[in-house]
């Protein structure tokens, strides 16, 4: 191959396949540039930043919406990213979230005009990282995506410079983030080094060879250690116990808007990435087609290379290697199930006595991370025995993520709107709100009931789907823990509703009224209606999630 051909090939690959699939992210990048330029011209006096942000995100969303899912997973950018229906689903979800989030920040008035440019730039940067996370196909992107999502978040938390607490929150976040990133990276280096490649599908092939060979047991400790360390990084992003410590403090210190972003987008992306990595490592793809041009060579020693080719061509061997991966699947499922059980229980119990709404929601976020980890363990276990059921489980998770997005956005939105009205984020100050803003309180009740998972709201549908699939995988004890925890969670979510509806109004409080026809009220009503609608008609969204999962475990 001449140099000219090489250039031609790489151009064709980039322009033909990769760039079109990557267009939404590129639009986000362009929006960042526009934001910074806009700042130069407007000097932070007008709403220009908001307008640019909104237009950019809408454009990106429309492009993502109109991008068709390929027939089968396509590796783009020489195997760094994968373009499939799951990535597309998650990116659409993330972009939709950013649009909703932007309008939410506009309504709640944070950030103000002075800080809007920085705020939105950081949000976009983090979103970009998350988009990378959900389509990662290479350990480098895994690490890079997590860091790209995390580093702007540290700055976001500290964005209100006058408040001491937000500085402290940023400090705690950054300290934990830095430590977790280091540990995770070490795990990645161990795994990548042992397997000799960082390309996820190839890694699974190598892992199967290693575990299947007689020398496999010698590598157990190092693999186990690597898995554990990588899981630490994920646990940090998902705020799974005991790597959750930053969550309540950071949420309390940051503004409700930033907390919403951290609680939703970064959880969703981390969960998708966890699925990608665990399912990618626990399953050998039956068709391992290498991209046409591979500037960076992954193939290493000769014998490993031939073994790859063989296992790729003969499907019988693939089943063998999938059987060989059983210990890897069991280990990761065990680890994740452990995290899920502990996280869920701790989160729910800790939320119990909280008076600060943001802390309460932080613990609720932790608890939900626990719920969401349960089906992940199930999906991994099922991947070996019944790929169809495993895909279905992933669909349930995708559905849960989508519903969780709306629920938590609603919860944080009402905290932010009430903060603007009351100047307080303490639950006791919400007492008796139903007297003056009944419509708003009904929306709040819908959101809270949905977070509990009471029928017929969307939260119930989502919870039902994941519990059913967890049971399907035979993880009965996890289901029991989940159900028990749902009971615990009833206490504190309903306490919020009870305080708003039943408790008498405190004396001397300014009388807040959020009319349902005001912008803020309408926003909350919209989310509440969505939650009810999704609870009653969940099939369209679930079908979408099923399509998203259909290309996993090729």
């Amino acid at each position: 191959m001449t140099f000219y051909e090489l250039v031609q090939n790489s151009l064709r690959d980039s322009l033909g396949t990769s760039i079109p699939a990557f267009a939404p992210e590129l639009l986000l990048c362009a929006t960042i540039v526009m934001l910074l330029l806009g700042r130069m011209f407007s000097g932070g006096r007008s709403n220009l930043a908001y307008v640019i942000m909104m237009v950019g995100c809408l454009a990106a969303f429309v492009v993502a919406w109109r991008t068709d899912a390929p027939e089968k997973p396509v590796e783009i950018f020489t195997g760094m990213l994968v373009h499939d229906s799951f990535a597309l689903f998650m990116r659409r979800l993330l972009l939709l979230f950013v649009i909703l989030f932007t309008s939410f920040t506009r309504l709640s008035g944070t950030p103000d005009r002075q800080t809007a440019t920085e705020f939105y730039t950081l949000i976009l940067g983090a979103t970009l990282g998350m988009c990378l996370m959900v389509s990662a196909n290479h350990m480098l992107i895994v690490f890079l995506g997590i860091e790209m999502a995390s580093v702007p978040s540290y700055a976001l938390v500290g964005v209100i410079k006058e408040r001491r607490v937000s500085a402290e929150a940023a400090l705690k976040f950054a300290v934990f983030g830095g430590g977790a990133a280091g540990v995770m990276l070490y795990g990645i280096s161990l795994l990548v080094g042992t397997l000799g490649t960082a390309h996820l599908p190839t890694m699974s092939v190598r892992l199967a060879e290693l575990l299947g060979s007689s020398a496999g047991s010698e590598y157990h400790p190092i693999l186990v250690l690597a898995g554990l360390m990588i899981m630490v990084g994920f646990a940090f992003k998902l705020s799974a116990v005991p790597f959750h410590f930053w969550t309540p403090d950071v949420f309390e210190g940051a503004t409700a808007e930033v907390a919403a972003f951290l609680s939703i987008a970064s959880k969703a992306a981390a969960l998708a990435l966890l699925l990608r990595v665990t399912l990618g490592l626990g399953h050998v793809p039956s068709t391992l087609d290498t991209p046409t041009t591979v500037p960076v060579r992954y193939a290493v020693s000769e014998d490993a290379g031939t073994a790859t080719a063989e296992s790729a061509s003969v499907s019988g061997l693939v089943t063998d290697s999938n059987a060989a991966l059983l210990p890897a699947r069991q280990y990761s499922a065990w680890l994740i199930a452990l995290f899920a059980a502990v996280t869920c229980t701790f989160g729910n119990l800790a939320a119990y006595g909280q008076d600060n709404m943001k802390r309460l929601l932080a613990y609720s976020t932790i608890a939900h991370a626990g719920y969401m980890l349960m089906p992940v363990a199930a999906a991994i276990l099922l991947a070996g025995t019944d790929p169809e059921a495993s895909r279905f489980t992933v669909a349930a998770i995708g559905f849960y993520i989508a519903v969780y997005l709306f629920m938590n956005l609603g919860a944080f939105a009402l905290v932010a709107f009430l903060r603007n009205e009351l100047g307080s984020e303490q639950l006791p100050d919400y007492a008796g709100l139903a007297r003056r803003s009944p419509g708003f309180v009904i929306c709040a009740a819908v959101v809270m009931f949905s977070l509990v998972g009471l029928p017929p709201l969307a939260g119930f549908a989502a919870k039902f789907a994941i519990f059913a699939q967890t049971y399907e995988a035979g993880l009965l004890s996890l289901v029991v823990i989940g159900v028990l925890n749902t009971l615990f969670s009833l206490f504190y979510y309903l306490r919020v509703v009870k305080t708003m509806v039943l408790d008498p109004e405190p004396e001397g409080r300014p009388a807040p009224t959020i009319r349902i026809w005001s912008n803020a009220g309408f926003y909350c009503a919209l989310i509440a209606v969505l939650l009810v609608a999704l609870g009653v008609f969940w099939n369209p969204l679930f079908a979408e999630a099923q399509f998203a999962a259909s290309m996993l475990l090729p």
């Binding site: 400090l171 705690k172 300290v175 934990f176 430590g179 540990v183 047991s217 010698e218 590598y219 157990h220 400790p221 190092i222 186990v224 250690l225 554990l228 005991p242 790597f243 410590f245 930053w246 309540p248 403090d249 680890l335 701790f346 119990l349 800790a350 119990y352 006595g353 279905f392 669909a395 009931f449 009471l454 029928p455 017929p456 119930f460 039902f464 789907a465 519990f467 059913a468 049971y471 399907e472 009965l476 289901v479 029991v480 159900v483 028990l484 749902t486 009971l487 615990f488 009833l490 206490f491 309903l494 009870k498 509806v501 039943l502 008498p504 969940w538 099939n539 679930f542 079908a543 099923q546």
Partner: protein, 770 residues
């Protein structure tokens, strides 16, 4: 049918705005909805009685096998008629009871919402549909009990009811999920034919337990019965509707619905029958000991629910038929009695049976309704209650081997008689007692409901054969499933002189006896109170409080807000996890200690350890420095022993230098102070030991892994050949690793400059400060 179920929800949305258009007559307007529904379901009596069933279904989430499907058969029809019929009566009643109340419209909204949910429960075919409506009834019940939300007790009772029934509902969800998995269908109507699969499934017992948990909490079975009496804080219409006639029967309905698939095993018999019996006894006793009219009725409801559950547990044909008859009778008379109790409370301001009497003069119509209902409750012919009791006794007689049921049932029947006397006669007859409000006759809306309900009870008794053929029999058929057809139900007031009749008469006599001796029972109860204080309610409070405290304590323990604690926990968790994993998978080198340990080696190791300990433990600085020096020299000795004299020399030199330096600066450093508490130090020490052990294990594991060849031979072979030096270390330092050495020297130089700068800064500061 779908519209019939959902119309309640629609109406519930509209109704709250009704009072704005006219203060009066709202109750009667609202009652049109349930009345229309009653008529609608009434039209099904004919075809269902002939054995037809109806089913509609809509796809909901087909991928998860979830459908919105409704199914109408005899059992569902009986309940649907109860729900809508009594709903109509209660709606009228509530208009009078709460007339002029600020939130009357809201109350009606909740009430209709509940009615629609309850209809959904009894008509649902898909288990998920059932669960959705099931939880909606819990939720509306919460809103209705807490309707009087200004009162603390009422809020607390609502909360308690929601937690108990909602929590049970979650268990039910898990149970239904597993049941669906075991049976291979989520449709209740198909379940009956899959009974064999279910009963032989490996998880039958857990499934049964979870479902029973759901049903028992909902139907206030022992030991979850405590929420029902507390729920009497609700307004009387709610008590009459939810807590006697409909919602508490949802658990019974569920057991009846599932019995074709699940009944017939030993586990079912013991759990359900004994649970029901215990509830029956416990409820009966507590009913006798009460003085509050509504509480007495509530406990007797608990007892009656126990009877129903017990009958369903027996599983015989007769028992199933008896259960349906008793259920219908109970719903009619108990609903009526609750409404009467509400009317009495409304008109006199008191519900204490000991402070009421002779009300018949002031409230003749209400009294008539009460007497009719009480007679039915006592089981006097020709009321429908008589038939219920008769069949109950027959079913118990039939159960043969399980002899203990019979006396218990007779006793319970006696208590019903006594309660009927209290609620129906004591209050209205005898001498008049002063009451907080001057009693006068209740308005039409307050007595119409109870009177109609008890009249229906009488009519059903009189035309028992029709009731049997059209209503009770289809319902019993649905319960019996495959075993149907053995024994057509015959209901008649006169069966001839049967043992059941004798027992019935006996129980009435016994009941009158009990009523006459009520004072003594109350006295005895006071002595037993110590025992009763630790009932389920006490445990509930304890568990709730305990959970609360535990939650707070664990949060406080972990979430100190102090970064270093967080890091400690995280690190401990990581070490613990990796340690746990590694213990299983790593085999340590078998010969960690070679066999040929020589004495001086062991002695040296001991010395090193001792010195290290001394350095850590010593309380003076000088001793610590000296101990540290010993450690350093010991390490140098180790080098000598392992054939590295030049390294040892270097170590000696460095060690000496360090000690001298330390001693030089020692007196300028602050004295030793113990800054941490003893506990903290012990914790840190333990933590350090564990961490050290884990790290050692990790290093061993890493070294153990791939084959390892020492580099020393490489240097040994080449040091003379390539660098012409015999001292390998020197050669390495100045030849092989010359660049490293240069780098190291540079680092030292930089460090020296830094030290110099620091030292120069300090004294000036001091002087300025001084």
């Amino acid at each position: 049918m779908t519209f019939a179920v959902l119309s309640g929800f629609l109406a519930a949305v509209v109704v709250p705005f009704l009072p704005r258009f006219g203060r009066y007559g709202t109750g009667r307007t609202v009652a049109l909805v349930p009345a229309a529904l009653t008529a609608y379901f009434g039209s099904y009596i004919q075809p269902v009685g002939a054995g037809e069933t109806f089913r509609t279904s809509y796809a909901w989430a087909p991928a998860l096998r979830v459908e919105f499907s409704l199914h109408l058969d005899g059992l569902g029809l009986l309940f649907a008629l109860l729900v809508s019929g009594i709903g109509a009566l209660v709606a009228i009643y509530a208009g009078g009871y709460l007339s002029g109340h600020r939130h009357l419209g809201r109350f009606y909204g909740f009430l209709l919402f509940f009615m629609a949910s309850m209809l959904g429960v009894v008509l649902a075919d898909n288990m998920l549909t059932l669960f959705v409506f099931w939880e909606l009834t819990s939720l509306t019940s919460y809103l209705l009990i807490g309707f009087d939300h200004e009162r603390e007790e009422s809020r607390k009772a609502a909360w308690q009811a929601l937690l108990v029934t909602g929590g049970g509902g979650l268990a039910l969800l898990a149970g239904l999920l597993m049941l669906g998995e075991a049976a291979g269908t989520m449709e209740l109507s198909e379940l009956a034919s899959r009974g064999g699969d279910v009963r032989s499934h490996a998880l039958y017992l857990p499934i049964l337990l979870l479902i029973l948990l759901g049903a028992f909490t909902k139907s206030a079975q022992f030991p979850f019965h405590f929420w029902l009496p507390s729920a009497m804080e609700a307004p009387a219409p709610v008590s009459a509707y939810l807590h006697s006639a409909t919602m508490v029967k949802a658990g019974v309905y569920l057991l009846a619905r599932l019995s074709p698939a699940m009944a017939g095993t030993d586990a079912w018999w013991y759990l359900v029958t004994l649970g029901g019996t215990a509830t029956m006894v416990c409820g009966a006793y507590l009913a006798l000991c009460g003085t509050d009219l509504k509480r007495i009725l509530a406990y007797s409801t608990v007892s009656a629910l126990g009877v129903l559950v017990m009958l369903l547990g027996m599983g015989s044909v007769l028992a199933a038929q008896a259960a349906m008859v008793f259920l219908l009778a109970h719903a009619l008379y108990k609903g009526a009695l609750f409404m009467v109790a509400g009317a009495v409370d409304h008109e006199t301001g008191s519900r204490d049976v000991d402070r009421l009497g002779g009300l018949w003069r002031a409230m003749p119509v209400t009294a008539a309704a009460a007497v009719l209902a009480a007679l039915s409750m006592a089981g006097i012919a020709p009321f429908f209650g008589f038939l219920g009791k008769e069949m109950l006794l027959e079913a118990s007689l039939e159960s043969g081997g399980r002899w203990f049921l019979l006396p218990v049932v007779v006793l319970a029947g006696a208590v019903f008689v006594a309660v009927a006397c209290m609620a129906g006669f004591r209050v209205f007859f005898g001498s008049s007692l002063p009451t907080p409000k001057q009693p006068h006759e209740a308005p039409l809306s307050l007595w119409l409901g109870p009177l109609l309900a008890s009249a229906v009870g009488l009519a059903l008794g009189l035309f028992a054969s029709y009731a049997a053929a059209w209503i009770v029999s289809p319902a019993a058929t649905a319960i019996l499933g495959e075993r149907t057809g053995h024994q057509p139900l015959k209901l008649a007031l006169w069966h001839g002189l049967t043992p059941a009749l004798a027992l019935s008469g006996g129980s009435i006599l016994l009941g009158l006896l009990v009523y006459a001796n009520r004072g003594r029972i109350l006295q005895m109860n006071r002595r037993l109170e110590v025992l009763l204080r630790h009932g389920p309610a006490w445990w509930y409070d304890l568990a709730l409080g305990g959970l609360n405290r535990f939650a707070l304590a664990q949060t406080r323990l972990l979430q100190t807000g102090y970064l270093r604690h967080y890091l400690l926990v995280i690190f401990a968790a990581t070490v613990g996890l990796s340690g746990y994993v590694l213990i299983g998978s790593v085999e340590l080198p078998a010969r960690l200690l070679g066999p040929e340990i020589r004495f001086h080696e062991a002695a040296l190791a001991g010395l090193l350890l001792l010195a290290a300990l001394a350095a850590v433990r010593s309380s003076t600085r000088l001793a610590a420095v000296a101990a540290l020096g010993v450690v350093g020299y010991g390490v140098a000795l180790v080098f000598i022993l392992y054939g590295a004299p030049d390294l040892a020399m270097t170590q000696f030199a460095i060690e000496t230098l360090t000690v001298i330096l330390l001693v030089l600066v020692l007196y300028r450093l602050p004295r030793y102070a113990v800054l941490s508490s003893r506990w903290v130090r012990i914790r840190d020490a333990a933590f350090a030991l564990v961490t050290g052990a884990t790290v050692t294990a990790l290093v061993l594991a890493a070294v153990h892994g791939p084959a390892y060849e020492s580099v020393s031979r490489y240097y040994a072979e080449r040091s003379f050949a390539e660098a012409h030096g015999r001292n390998i270390v020197n050669v390495i330092l100045v030849d092989f690793r010359a660049l490293d050495t240069l780098g190291e020297i540079t680092v030292l130089a930089v460090a020296a400059v830094g030290v110099h700068a620091l030292l120069k800064l300090r004294p000036k500061n001091r002087e300025d400060a001084a």
